[in-house]
């Protein structure tokens, strides 16, 4: 399994965010370390097909990023994200399960499994607006794992997590990285 990023370029008006970047990602965890504004988020958005590159290609085993097959094995946690105000933690995961093409029965099972994994099972019924920042972040991580992604892209995933949660999260990522491609960005050196 190979994710090939080939001469990818992104330019915003007169600023080049990503300049002919080429690399190959294989199974395992890869960290993107860089200062704010270095282009990490732009690159991750392009890998997720949210942002169109000005040049170059991104493909997983020759499946281009624009293909539905690619998105069906993609998990993404953006740096910042919101939620619909009426959603509970469980609703949030069930909603994204539907958008990720899981069947209803599979969605229910996977949602409960992930709520347990990220330690939100006991507050699953509560509205997300009552969650702390760390709990929301854990919910976001669970959302990214719903479809058992082959390619997991995490933009500043440990932001808002306390040290204990950070250790637990690192273990989860390490486990996922054994069989899948994980790309995470951070500005915290110890996370990598």
């Amino acid at each position: 399994m190979e994710l090939i990023i080939d001469r990818v370029t992104k330019q915003y008006k007169n600023k080049i965010a990503v300049d002919r970047l080429s690399f190959t990602l294989k199974t395992g965890v890869t960290g993107l370390l860089g200062a704010n504004g270095a282009g990490k988020t732009a690159l991750m958005r392009m890998i997720c097909g949210i942002l169109l590159p000005d040049g170059g290609t991104i493909a997983l085993d020759e499946i281009p990023v624009t293909d539905q097959r690619y998105r069906s094995v993609l998990g993404y946690l953006p740096q910042e994200f919101g939620y619909y105000p009426e959603f509970s933690g469980r609703d949030f995961l069930l909603y994204f399960s539907a958008l990720k093409g899981l069947t209803k029965s599979e969605a229910k099972l996977r949602t409960e499994e992930l709520l347990e994994l990220v330690g939100l099972a006991d507050v699953a019924k509560k509205k997300i607006r009552t969650y702390s920042g760390g709990m929301r972040q854990r919910l976001g991580i669970a959302q990214a794992l719903l479809n058992r992604p082959k390619v997991l892209v995490l933009d500043e995933p440990t932001a808002g997590l306390d040290p204990k949660e950070r250790v637990k999260f690192r273990n989860i990522i390490e486990e996922i990285g054994r069989e899948n491609i994980v790309l995470l960005s951070t500005h915290i050196v110890s996370d990598i």
């Binding site: 539905q68 998105r71 994204f96």
Partner: protein, 240 residues
């Protein structure tokens, strides 16, 4: 091996971690994952997630009009024309809901993509509003004295005006940071209808009914184009 020994061994050693579990489950899923992601499943994935207020407002207007007709209230046509901008304002707000609640980035990275989700929402709301406008036209056409075509145009024009202007405004930089601006547009259009209901707007409809119908048709086409722009524009929103 006796049972006690079995239990002792189970307690003494952890079960080995499953190897290739994720890949195994993914392979099993694969055969139906792609079948599940057709347009109909896209629509059904969204129908339960459209805000109840969108349906309730439409239903409320319909019930209000029916009661108004039963009560033989004379001004129902004008009141309905003043209410329809709110129906379309709420629809425009629903179409930009992902942006409003910062969900668009995560939704864009799913199987359906943000375009698919937008398509589903716009289609579902659009069909329900077409049915609503048709029902209102049928209900009011019989008592308005203007005929069904002009009555339909009379209530549809404010709806379409609010929709077109609302979507245009939502695309501006101001609209992106103030998503509720489409509701303000609905208020303005509604006020215009109220202030001109017995004046210029009414005279125009009475003296030039064919132009009124024509205006409704043109606005409908412009509205379709606006949705097309919204649909295409979201694809490139992150590139701006």
């Amino acid at each position: 091996m006796n049972n006690n020994l079995k239990e002792e061994l189970q307690m003494a050693f952890d079960a080995p971690k499953p190897h290739g579990k994720e890949a195994f489950i993914r392979e099993i899923r694969k055969r139906y994952t792609y079948v599940y992601t057709d347009r109909w499943s896209m629509l059904s994935s969204q129908i339960g997630y459209i805000r109840k207020s969108v349906w309730l407002l439409s239903l409320g207007v319909l019930v209000f009009v029916i009661f108004g007709i039963i009560g033989k209230y004379n001004e129902m046509l004008y009141i309905t024309a003043a209410l329809t901008p709110f129906i379309s304002g709420v629809a425009v707000l629903e179409s930009v809901r992902s942006r409003l609640y910062e969900m668009e980035e995560m939704e864009a990275a799913t199987v359906y993509s943000l375009r698919g989700i937008l398509f589903a929402r716009i289609t579902l709301i659009g069909i329900s509003h077409l049915i609503l406008l048709f029902a209102l036209t049928m209900a009011l056409g019989s008592i308005s004295g203007k005929g069904y075509l002009v009555t339909g145009s009379y209530i549809t024009i404010p709806y379409l005006m609010s929709s077109v202007v609302g979507m245009e405004v939502e695309r501006t930089a101001y609209g992106r940071s103030h998503s509720y601006v489409c509701v303000a547009v609905a208020v303005i259009v509604s006020m215009l209808v109220i202030f001109t209901a017995f004046g210029a707007w009414n005279r125009f409809v009475m003296e030039y009914p064919e132009w009124c119908v024509m205006a409704a048709v043109v606005l409908f086409l412009v509205n379709l184009n606006e949705y097309r722009k919204l649909y295409n524009w979201e694809k490139y929103a992150w590139n701006l």
